[in-house]
């Protein structure tokens, strides 16, 4: 057994080598491409990726993601609370199962569902008398992205809300606290890690989303960095822009990484309360 133990890490070797290669080559390619112009080292790609239309698209993506994360967090928390405090077990199970499915339901089908509903020849847009192109604006995109963001928030918040023990509320009430004081000094502090973690997840999901926006063709109105990168790669723009697309990808990783760096320690803290 001792011999086997000293060689035990060999089982992990294939996965680590695989991940090293499949992640390593693209990482090197992105860094190499970003910091060279026609074979010589340069920062020009990076500065170009942070100016003009590229900067606008980065800002557009961050704005959409921030609004989706904020609105999704609030609405998802209310929905989770309504479900968790409900006396009907079946309702709770149904909503949580549906959330598990819808949180994974992004991409192309989502786009076509909303096009069929609120698009220019959509079923509901005619009934509501929406102006043509309403779905393809900033707020239209937010409504579409919330479709997978709210369920994700429900999944994050339901266990956290379950962790709020009724005894805490009773103790607060017994000590003379009002409902507002209970939420301000007991409820929210306990929920904060889960809330912030949820906001970060929602932001990351909306920020990285490409398929939905691409299938909707929303790029014409809302500048998104993912659409910008894609059009550079598929050759819709001038030659030589390709390395700027690599620089834009690097910008995205930096932003996503910064946001995720907030999430991981918070998640560790929140799990402590939610056993």
């Amino acid at each position: 057994m001792i011999v086997a133990r000293s060689r035990g890490w060999l089982g992990a070797l294939p996965l680590l080598v695989f991940a090293g290669l499949v992640f390593g080559f693209p990482a090197i390619a992105i860094l190499g491409g970003t910091f060279t112009v026609q074979g010589s080292p340069s920062l020009r790609n990076l500065t170009q990726s942070l100016s003009g239309g590229n900067l606008t698209s980065l800002a557009g993506s961050v704005q959409v993601s921030a609004v989706v994360a904020g609105a999704g967090a609030v609405l998802g928390t209310f929905l989770a609370y309504a479900v968790v405090t409900s006396r009907f077990r079946a309702l709770r199970e149904a909503v949580l199962t549906a959330s598990g499915v819808l949180a994974n339901f992004g991409g192309v089908p989502l786009a076509f569902f909303w096009v069929a509903t609120l698009g220019n020849s959509g079923v509901i847009s005619g009934l509501l008398g929406l102006p043509s192109g309403a779905l393809y604006t900033f707020w239209g995109l937010v409504v579409v992205y919330l479709y997978f963001s709210i369920p994700l928030m429900v999944l994050v918040m339901a266990p956290a809300l379950d962790g709020l023990r009724p005894q805490w509320r009773e103790a607060a009430a017994g000590g003379g606290a009002t409902a507002w004081q209970y939420w301000r000094y007991v409820g929210l502090p306990v929920l904060t890690p889960a809330l912030l973690g949820g906001v970060v997840l929602l932001f990351g999901g909306a920020f990285a989303a490409y398929a939905t926006a691409a299938a909707m063709g929303a790029g014409t109105v809302v500048p998104l960095v993912t659409l910008k990168i894609a059009s550079a790669l598929t050759g819709d723009v001038q030659i030589g822009f390709e390395n700027v697309a690599l620089a834009l990808s690097l910008d995205m990783v930096v932003i996503a990484g910064l946001v995720m760096a907030v999430y991981l320690p918070l998640q560790k803290r929140s799990t402590r309360w939610l056993r």
Binding site: G8, L15, L16, F18, I30, G106, G107, W114, V253
Partner: protein, 288 residues
């Protein structure tokens, strides 16, 4: 946590019964929240289905769905997606399961490394990943052109079955597979089982296939279904590398046949629901 539970547990007995919950007000706002949520989530589903079966010219008909089945490219793209999914599932499980066993049994110090490797794909946006893949394939093609490796590089990009997509999907699936297998391994005493089997003279393949895998059946199933759902829905990587699995095909036909693409979306949603419902009922049964 045990300490906290016991502290809150003791005074409970002495406490007077809690006041009856206020019935009126919370129920009203809960009703409003649930009705609004139901409207927001159900209306697109219903209208999309309506959109596929009704139009002003021909009225109600299910012909869109029969058209879909015989549409040019439907079978080919769906077949490609399913083939890619099968290859991805086999490869990701073959890589992850031994690695996780090794970390649990003999190399716990590798655990943080594993966690980082299996979280990275969540941090890196897929579009960034595919940009890097595209660039490294291009550079690799130039560098390797005079060597025999060039043929390998071309082979993995074969449009009939692009192995490069399988490699990318394995990375994208890692976080989900890691989490379900980790949960599965936590429910069994891996060390005792493996050491007992080894002491009785089982070889490592026997240990894995006749001791570990049968105990992990539901975790392996949920990892496989999640991977299948992920590969069927994946668009970004395939589109930007120029391949045409199912999700890319839906977008390709949307320009000319809007009804068909919505019908394909309905179909792919139903498939995803089915897969994920299987996962959630399987894990639900395990819990109870």
């Amino acid at each position: 946590m045990a300490a906290l539970a016991s502290v809150t547990g003791v005074p409970e007995a002495a406490e007077p019964p809690p006041p009856p919950p206020r019935a009126g007000r919370p129920r009203v706002w809960r009703g409003i929240v649930l009705v609004l949520a139901a409207a927001y989530f159900l209306v697109p589903l219903v209208t999309s289905f309506w959109f596929t079966v009704y139009n002003d010219m021909t009225g109600f008909s299910l012909s869109t769905y029969t058209d879909l089945l015989v549409a040019e490219g439907f079978g080919r793209s769906l077949g490609l997606s399913l083939g890619l999914a099968a290859a991805t599932i086999v490869l990701v499980l073959a890589l992850t399961l031994p690695a996780m066993l090794a970390v649990r049994l003999s190399a716990p110090r590798l655990r943080p490394v594993m966690e980082v490797v299996c979280t990275l794909p969540l941090v890196v946006p897929p579009i960034t990943f595919v940009t890097g893949i595209g660039k490294s394939l291009q550079v690799g093609g130039e560098v390797l052109a005079p060597t025999p490796f060039w043929a390998t590089l071309i082979a993995i990009q074969d449009p009939a079955f692009p192995i490069v997509l399988v490699l990318a999907y394995v990375m994208l699936a890692l976080p989900f597979v890691y989490r379900s297998l980790d949960a599965g391994l936590a429910t069994m005493d891996v060390r005792t089982l493996v050491e007992a089997a080894r002491n009785l003279g089982a070889s490592w393949p026997q240990v894995i296939f006749r001791v570990v895998v049968p105990n992990l059946r539901s975790a392996l199933a949920s990892a496989s279904f999640l991977t299948l759902a992920l590969v069927l829905g994946e668009f970004t990587v395939a589109r930007l590398l120029g391949y045409q699995p199912f999700s890319v095909w839906i977008v390709t036909i949307s320009g000319s046949q809007a009804q068909l693409s919505v019908a394909a979306s309905v179909l792919s949603l139903l498939l995803t629901w089915l897969l994920l419902l299987v996962v959630s009922t399987a894990s639900g049964r395990k819990r109870s």
